[in-house]
C-alpha cells in the first residue's frame, strides 16, 4: 500500500476523492493522514516501538552488566568504555553496510546496530550512578554489617537509579531517532514511510511519520520520567 510513489514529480495518490490539500501537496493534510492512519502510519509506528524496545532492553542488559563489572573491577572501566565509545562513533549507515554481509537485510542487523549505540550511554550512566554513592553512606552500610550483595541491592543500585534512568532516557530518545534509518535495511519502522515519501515527495507522509517519531520520543521519555519518579520517591522529598 505504501509503495505507491515512484520518483519524479509529486504524485498524488489517487484514493478516490482527493482534497485540495492533497492535490496541492500541502505541508500536512489532516484528512489524508487520518484516512491513511491504519495502513501508512500505524503499522510502522508499532514496529518502530518494538524495534526501540528490543534495542534498549538488550542494550540495557549488556551495559548494566558491563557497568557493574567495571564498578567492581575498576581497571575494566577504561577498556569497556573505550570499546563502547568506539561503537558509538560508527556512522549508523556504515555499520549497517558492515553487518549486512553477515546478518543480511534483517531485523537482526538493525538491532545489532541500534544496541551498539545505546551501550556507552547506559554503561556510563550505571558507572557514574554507582560511583556517585556518597562514601559515608557506603562506609556506614559496610560498618553496620551489610554484605556485598546487600550493599549493592539495598544501597548502591537504588542510589544509582536517578543516573541510570537519565541514561535510559537519552538512549531511548536516541534510538527512536536512529531507528528511522533502519528502513535502509528492512521495510519496518517509521523510517519506511519517510524514505518512500522523500523520494516521492509527498509532504504529508514524511511530515506525518517524522512527527510521529518525534512524538514517540517525547512519549517514551515522559514514561521513563514517570518511572523514575515512582522508583525514586526520596528525590522529590523536601522538608
Amino acid at each position: 500500500m505504501s509503495d505507491f510513489a515512484p520518483a519524479g514529480d509529486p504524485v498524488i495518490p489517487d484514493y478516490g476523492q482527493a482534497s485540495d490539500c492533497v492535490i496541492n501537496n500541502g505541508a500536512f493534510c489532516t484528512d489524508w493522514f487520518l484516512s491513511q492512519w491504519s495502513t501508512v502510519f500505524w503499522p510502522p509506528l508499532v514496529s518502530h516501538i518494538v524495534m526501540v524496545a528490543i534495542a534498549v532492553s538488550i542494550g540495557f542488559v549488556i551495559a548494566f552488566g558491563a557497568g557493574l563489572l567495571a564498578y567492581r573491577k575498576k581497571w575494566l572501566a577504561g577498556p569497556i568504555g573505550m570499546a563502547a565509545t568506539f561503537l558509538y562513533t560508527l556512522p549508523p549507515l556504515a555499520l549497517f553496510q558492515l553487518l549486512v554481509p553477515f546478518t543480511g537485510l534483517s531485523l537482526l542487523t538493525v538491532e545489532i546496530a541500534l544496541v551498539c549505540f545505546t551501550l556507552i550511554i547506559i554503561f556510563q550512566a550505571v558507572l557514574v550512578g554507582l560511583s556517585g554513592v556518597p562514601d559515608d553512606v557506603r562506609r556506614a552500610a559496610t560498618g553496620m554489617g551489610l554484605d556485598r550483595n546487600q550493599l549493592l541491592f539495598k544501597v548502591e543500585l537504588p542510589l544509582a537509579l536517578p543516573s541510570i534512568i537519565s541514561g535510559l532516557r537519552i538512549a531511548t530518545v536516541l534510538t527512536v531517532s536512529i531507528a528511522t534509518i533502519a528502513a535502509f535495511v528492512v521495510d519496518d519502522g517509521l523510517g519506511s514511510p519517510i524514505i518512500k515519501a522523500v523520494s516521492s515527495p509527498f509532504n504529508t507522509q514524511f511530515v506525518g511519520a517524522g512527527a510521529l517519531a518525534v512524538l514517540l520520543a517525547f512519549a517514551l521519555d515522559g514514561l521513563l520520567v514517570l518511572l523514575g519518579r515512582v522508583l525514586t520517591p526520596w528525590t522529590k522529598a523536601r522538608s
Partner: protein, 344 residues
Amino acid sequence: MTQHSTGTSITFDRATKTYPGAAVPALDALDLEVEAGELVCLVGPSGGGKTTALQLVNRLVDLTSGDIRIGDRSITDQSAIALRRTIGYAIQQSGLFPHYTVADNIATVPVVLGWDKARIRTRTAELLELVGLSPVETWLPRYPAQLSGGQQQRVGIARALAADPPVMLMDEPFGALDPITRVAVQDEFLAIHRAVGKTTLFVTHDIDEAIKMADRIAILKPGGKLAQFDTPANVLSDPADDFVAEFLGAERGLKRLALTTVGEIVTAGTTGAKAATTDGARPSTTGWPDVEATMTLREALSVVSAARADGAIVHSDGSRLGEVSLHDLIAPPAAGEDREGVRA
C-alpha cells in the same frame, strides 16, 4: 548506672596497623582497655591513627598484628559481617541512607538480622523517643533530606543503637554540626549513654568535646602511639608529656574548669561564700550576676568577668541555691573529682 552492665569491654592488645606502602605504622602497638559501659574518647592530631583504631574494631580495617577483644572474644573469631552486626556504628554526616525513610534507616540492621515486623516497629518507635524525635509518627516517614543536621545525627545514633549492640563506635559523629546544635546533641547523647550504658569508643578531633563527653580520654600522637590514657581531670591537671600539654593548649587551666558545674561546688558546701554566710559575715553580693546551677565553672567565670563582679549568685529551677566568689570559680577544690566519684 546499673545498666552499664549491658555493655562489654573492648581490649586493644598491642593492636598495630601498617597500611600497605607506608613506612611507619598508622597505629603502633596500642594497648587500651575500655571498660564495660565506659565512654572513651580517642583524640589526637590527624595522622594519630584515631580513626584507624576505631575501624580496626569493626574490621573496616584489618589488623597488621596484635589483637582486639570485645568481652573475651577476639574480633577475628567470627566473620567481619557478623561482627559488625553486633556493633553500633555512627559516623560524621550521619551516613544515613538518603533513599530510606527514617523508619527504614533505623531498621537496617534489624532487617538484615531477620527480626519480625512488629518487633522492628516497636523498637524503631522506642529509639526515636529515646533520641528525642517525637511524636514518632511525624518522623518515621521522612527522608533524611527532610531533616536538619542535628535531627539526622539523632537518627544516626538511633540507627546505631537499633539492634541493641553492647558496643558503640562513633567516628566524629558531631563533627559537621554547627556549635549550638552540637552542644544540644552532645548533651542528648550523654543522657542516652548514661541511660543505656553502651561501651562507647568515640573519635573526635575536638578536645573540648572529649573533655565534655569522656569518662577517659586516649590521646594518640603522630606515628599512632598512645600518649596518655586517663580521666579528663587527670589529663588536664597532669599531662603526660609536652605533646599532650601542647595538644591541650594554653587554655588547659580553663578547660579544667569546664569539668565542674557551679551547682556541684555550691551543694558540696565547699564555697567560701556559703561558709561566710553561715558565719553571718555575709560579703556584699551587690551587682553579682545570676548563673544557673547547671553552668560550668568556666561559663560562670565568663559571666562574672563580663559583669566585672567578684562572684555570682547561683540559681536552680528559679530558686536561689547560694553564691560563688571569684576565688571559688578559679580555684575550685579538686575540679572533676566529684564526677569521677559518680563514674566509679
